[in-house]
């Protein structure tokens, strides 16, 4: 944990996290997850520090960060809504949830201007018998109809 506010530079966070994973084989992904958990995203300034820690080129690190859907280059909104669009949820009308979000002015992959909500698509959350499935800030909701999605998007459902 950080002790004082001035310690919270990207470089300090990355170095501390990397130190915590020293000795682990192939630790770049766990370190990236930990950096994102702390900073909310993987900022550009983290790339050269990671390259130095892992003795890789910046291009290599950049390549890894951009390969995986999970790693964000920008912070997300305060609420992240992920709508499952894989087949089992499609079969129960996931498409209409995406349409509903779009009508509410939220496009997939975008964050609202006030930073409140980010809506994303995801392919399968392992809840395929109780779809359509939506995940809100890490919490799963099954059998989600447009009305419930509306409630979630309006922030009336706490998560």
């Amino acid at each position: 944990m950080t002790t004082s506010g001035s310690d919270v530079t990207v470089e300090n966070v990355v170095r501390r996290v990397a130190a915590g994973h020293r000795g682990q084989r192939g630790a770049l992904l766990p370190v990236l997850h930990a950096v994102q958990a702390e900073l909310g995203h993987v900022p550009q300034e983290a790339i050269p520090v990671l390259a130095d820690e892992f003795n890789l080129s910046r291009a290599d690190v950049h390549g890894v960060v951009t390969f995986y859907h999970d790693f964000r280059r920008e912070p997300a909104g305060r609420t992240t809504v992920r709508i499952c669009r894989a087949e089992a949820c499609q079969a129960l009308g996931a498409g209409s949830l995406v349409g509903y979000a779009r009508e509410a002015g939220l496009s997939l992959g975008e964050t609202t201007a006030d930073g409140a909500v980010t809506v994303e698509q995801v392919f399968c959350l392992g809840n395929c018998a109780l779809g359509p499935t939506v995940e809100v800030n890490g919490r799963l909701h099954g059998r989600v109809g447009p009305a419930q999605l509306g409630a979630i998007l309006n922030g009336t459902v706490s998560s």
Binding site: A27, V64, A88, A91, L92, G126
Partner: protein
Amino acid sequence: MNNSSDSTAHSDFTARSDFTARSDFTARSDSTPRSDSTAKVYVPRDSAARSVGADEVADALQLAAARGDFDIEVVRNGSRGMLWLEPLIEVVTPHGRVGYGPVAPSEVEGLLAAGMLDGADHPLRLGVVDELPWLARQTRVTFARVGVTDPLSTQDYLEHGGLAGLRAALELAPEDVVTEVTESGLRGRGGAGFPAGIKWKTVLGCTDELKFVCCNADEGDSGTFADRMVMEGDPFMLIEGMTIAAHAVGASEGYLYIRSEYPDAVATMRAAIGIAREHGWLGKGILGSALDFDLQVRVGAGAYICGEETSMLESLEGKRGMVRAKPPIPAIEGLFGKPTVVNNVLTLATVPIVLADGAKAYQELGVERSRGTQVFQLGGNIAHGGIVETAFGVTLRELVEDYGGGTFSGRPVRTVQVGGPLGAYLPTSMFDLPMDYEAFAAAGAMVGHGGLVVFDDSVDMAAQARFAMEFCAEESCGKCTPCRVGSVRGVEVIDKIVAGEHRDENLALLEDLCDLMTDGSLCAMGGLTPMPVRSALAHFPDDFLGGRRSLEIQPVQATGVRTEGTA
């Protein structure tokens, strides 16, 4: 490392309160009163159950207990896999565990008042859960404990046969364990169906000092959730299976690669690994033997292709998940270039029972070269979705119509996609096909991981074919052109066909493209994407004529808790 002990983890899930006001309502019930006064109630902690309110149901029970009205011990078990009945709660009675479901949090008070703690009648009462036909008809081998026990209780695990497989394996020389697994006929459950014993034999035959066991828990296919349910519902079984594999091949380190979409599975497995270490089930000198083996969880980062084994190894090494060309096979040059067993969760989770009961018992189940049981997963537009574990050879019709009870929407079934996003869409005319790796392959389909996704007659198959190409374009690792570019072209060509632009030429082009992807792709991502596309074209050609629109799908119940249907 966070080695929090199970007893502390448990107290969160348990509520005890003093006995009060019980006698008068016990009198109302016609069941035999329990001998001790604390009622044990199981409420699943499985994430599917939680997605429809299991935590809130548990909270409501705890609240009633805290108020002192009832004396209840809440145990958070895994799910029985009757997912349309979740949250399904079970009360221990002298006659067995009586189930109620699906229970909305607001119904808890009424259930308690009606005498649920004594198994009393109520519209939500399902009867003794073990006797429900849906469950009783199954052959639960790998899933025998899932939903029955508290996943993190070592006592439960031991009382229900845990560690018998590992103890038996440790009595055997490594090559004899390999022989046992080979003779059981156990084939990889991750999709390709490669015999587990043969893979292990290759790793055993390597002389390297350092070898690895990697469990593939990426489970990216839509319609599959059995790996998740094993990890959340019976994590020690997977640890035991991986430890047996380590003994069999001479590995000292294990990795469990879990997709990031499964945070509950990650947390449960990490907790279970900590508990296993404390009990000497992992670490140095396991169970007093000479075996040293330890295990860690690694979390994926949202890439479907990382389910492909070589891509998973690259990811474990901290790289982009680019597929490696084979040979060399991972059994010889796997993680960090060392001999590595890569198996699916279900494959490894089945190993303990094979060792405990012997190869013969397992081998006697199944048909032809598909031995043992398969854990089928019923999802999509289905009335009774969930886990059906049964011997190979069961037909699609039995699974979709008998177990599944048809569609959730109540409309006719039109197609079932079997084996994930790379599997074929089968029409109802093929529903008598037996579930068998070879029979499916002969029919241009695949069993894959055993996931079935049901669609009703509102589905537009041209849209599904287009989605298959779109998914491939989105998730391709990008290494080879047929997959990376072919899938993008595939989307365009299907759009043109549906729009009626030079339909015949474009259909011929699509055929060509499918051939090219099948023959020229490095892995099954590009190589199998033509399967859903071709099956849609072959069985539902009219959908490509441009007239069809997805019919309006009835939105499902917004409250999420109630679904019709009983066992």
